[in-house]
Amino acid sequence: MTISRREPWLLLLPAVALLALGFLTPVVGMLVSSVIAPEGGGVTLSNFERLFGSEYYLGAAERSLRLSLIQTALAVILATPIAYIMSRATSWVRTAVLVVVILPLLTSVVVRTFGWVVLMGPAGALSSLPGIELLGAGSQGLLGTEAGVVIAMVQVLLPFAVLTILGVMSSVKQELEEASRMLGANFWRTLRHVVIPLSLPGIASGATLVFALSVSSFITPRLVGGVQLPVLAGTIYVDSTVGLDWPFAAAQSVLLFAGVILVIAATLRLGKVDR
């Protein structure tokens, strides 16, 4: 297309400018402020020293990591068969499941968590299920327990996992499954030898997406788990808005971000080792 040479750039400029202003600047600003001393002046690592020296914060970070890994594992384990069923089902089943999966995404996380708070409270339906004490339910029902946080979070994360894995599953052609069946592999062996291996890249990227989302969440953990179960995202929130200690909060954010990138890199590396 040789119209005006400037036309595409004129079209691009506003979006790029807005992102530079509203996205790039804050992110860079945050990175910068993490190495600024809170009292002002000078580049320093004191924020990081304080972070790594504190049992409280390291505990929060450990909890973030631990719970996120559990949530990611559960989300992926549930999402993979669901994605497979969706990719092989009739179109009306697929649409129905898609609606069910996407509907929660269209509601605010606050609303969804609200529902769990009601369900998990001492009078809530979930808390009166037999055997629920095994998960740690106490006088407050499932509220204030890590199990409660995991249950609520996995519900928030599941749609993302399903949609990502579904993308890859759909590209594993049915003919490959048929060929496997003709060669003597039954349904289950076909899943094991053909479908799952070919879906691993999608499952891996679903897992990294879910992990990143999980580790950055603070609203659900705070509302369901309460202040007695701090996670790193939660402490960042409190320190920024209540404590107004932005450099320290920024240092925590850098740790968070670094953790996410490490996990992504590890997953990519695992993907390559397989070959």
């Binding site: 048929e178 003709m182 039954n186």
Partner: protein, 357 residues
């Protein structure tokens, strides 16, 4: 090696009947083509044999065993898919070994050896450690073939395996498949829409149309003696000239003069004379050695390198004639078309009507 018996197979998809009662026996060791236009049900039939589709009614027997309700992985059949369907995450050797691995009746080392043997048969043994994405279309296809035959299946099923190849590769592969069949003696069912392919490769051709069997026979049989209007139309290029068969001979509509000699199969009554385009000779006078002739008007002639195509009018009906190019071209205008009744075929109207849909 086994005989394949298909009894009264019917299959409907969402209310539309795709297979309308197919009865077929495929002799052990023969190479049979399922031939027909798109939508005739040939692929559906193949998939029913494979177990990838379940017929709505009917039976399928392989070597005497009723497999109709049997899952595909238990039928011991080999299948080649149109897109080859090689497992992209396995090497060539692992792909070919897969079927042996699933049967698990020998050691891994023996499985690998058998896989290499199969690769040797298709001359791909040097590619054992490559991945499918590193192979060309023709190479992938051979690997797919090796994979299908490695587990020593009872019947080999091929679903339009040559359609994705370019013309020259296709011709080469046709010959290879025929040679392979002779060598292994495997009962083979081959689905195609290309009549030339079916004619070249098969012992028997099954012509399908709209869910039913139109005709079964050796290639030459079907070519020379199409049993139905559809068969005459689909195979080769034939003319159908309306007329009536009587005790004295054939009278073509609008053609004056004596009745023409009857082709062997003619029965009295109305019908069509079926003559292949290459069986007619056009000239200024009746050609010697041909027992039938009629006056025609040459409308156009098209020079096509190795041949000339005439469109002539025979008593109001359009007839196409193919002539070799080394015969002088007959100019437009009055002429005579000649043919041998032994090369012609009669389609009585009742036959036409029964199979018209």
């Amino acid at each position: 090696m086994s005989t394949l018996t298909i009894s009264s197979i019917r299959k409907s998809f969402k209310g539309t009947e795709v297979l309308r009662g197919i009865d077929l026996t495929i002799e052990s060791g023969s190479f049979v083509s399922l031939l027909g236009p798109s939508g005739c049900g040939k692929t559906t039939l193949l998939r029913c044999i494979a177990g990838l589709e379940t017929p709505s009614s009917g039976q399928i027997l392989i070597g005497g065993d009723d497999v109709t309700a049997l899952a595909p992985e238990r039928r011991r059949l080999g299948m080649m898919f149109q897109s080859y369907a090689l497992f992209p995450h396995m090497t060539v050797l692992e792909n070919v070994r897969f079927g042996l691995r699933m049967r698990a009746d020998r050691s891994v080392a023996e499985q690998r050896k058998a896989a290499r043997d199969a690769l040797e048969v298709v001359r791909m043994e040097g590619y054992a450690d490559r991945l499918p994405t590193q192979l060309s279309g023709g190479q992938q296809q051979r690997v797919a073939l090796a994979r299908a035959i490695a587990p020593e299946p009872r019947v080999l099923l091929l679903d339009e395996p040559l359609s994705n190849l370019d013309a020259r590769l296709r011709d080469d592969m046709q010959i290879e498949l025929v040679e392979l069949h002779r060598r292994l003696g495997l009962t083979t069912v081959f689905v195609t829409h290309d009549q030339h392919e079916a004619m070249t490769m098969s012992d028997t051709v099954v012509l399908l149309n709209d869910g039913s069997v139109e005709q079964v026979g050796e290639p030459e049989d079907i070519y020379r003696r199409p049993a139905t209007h559809f068969a005459a139309d689909f195979i080769g290029a034939a003319n159908m000239i309306a007329g009536e068969a009587t005790a004295q001979g054939i009278r073509l509509d609008g053609v004056p003069g004596d009745a023409l000699p009857r082709p062997d199969n003619a029965t009295n009554g109305r019908g069509s004379l079926v003559v292949r385009t290459e069986s007619i000779v056009v000239g200024h006078s009746p050609a010697t050695g041909y027992d039938s002739a009629a006056p025609v008007t040459v409308l156009t002639s098209v020079f096509r390198g190795a041949e000339v195509i005439y469109v002539v009018e025979l008593a109001g009906q359009r007839v196409k004639v193919t002539a070799p190019a080394n015969v002088p071209i007959v100019p437009a205008g009055a002429a005579v078309a000649s043919w041998a009744s032994s090369e012609a075929f009669w389609l009585s109207e009742t036959t036409v009507l029964t199979h018209e849909r």
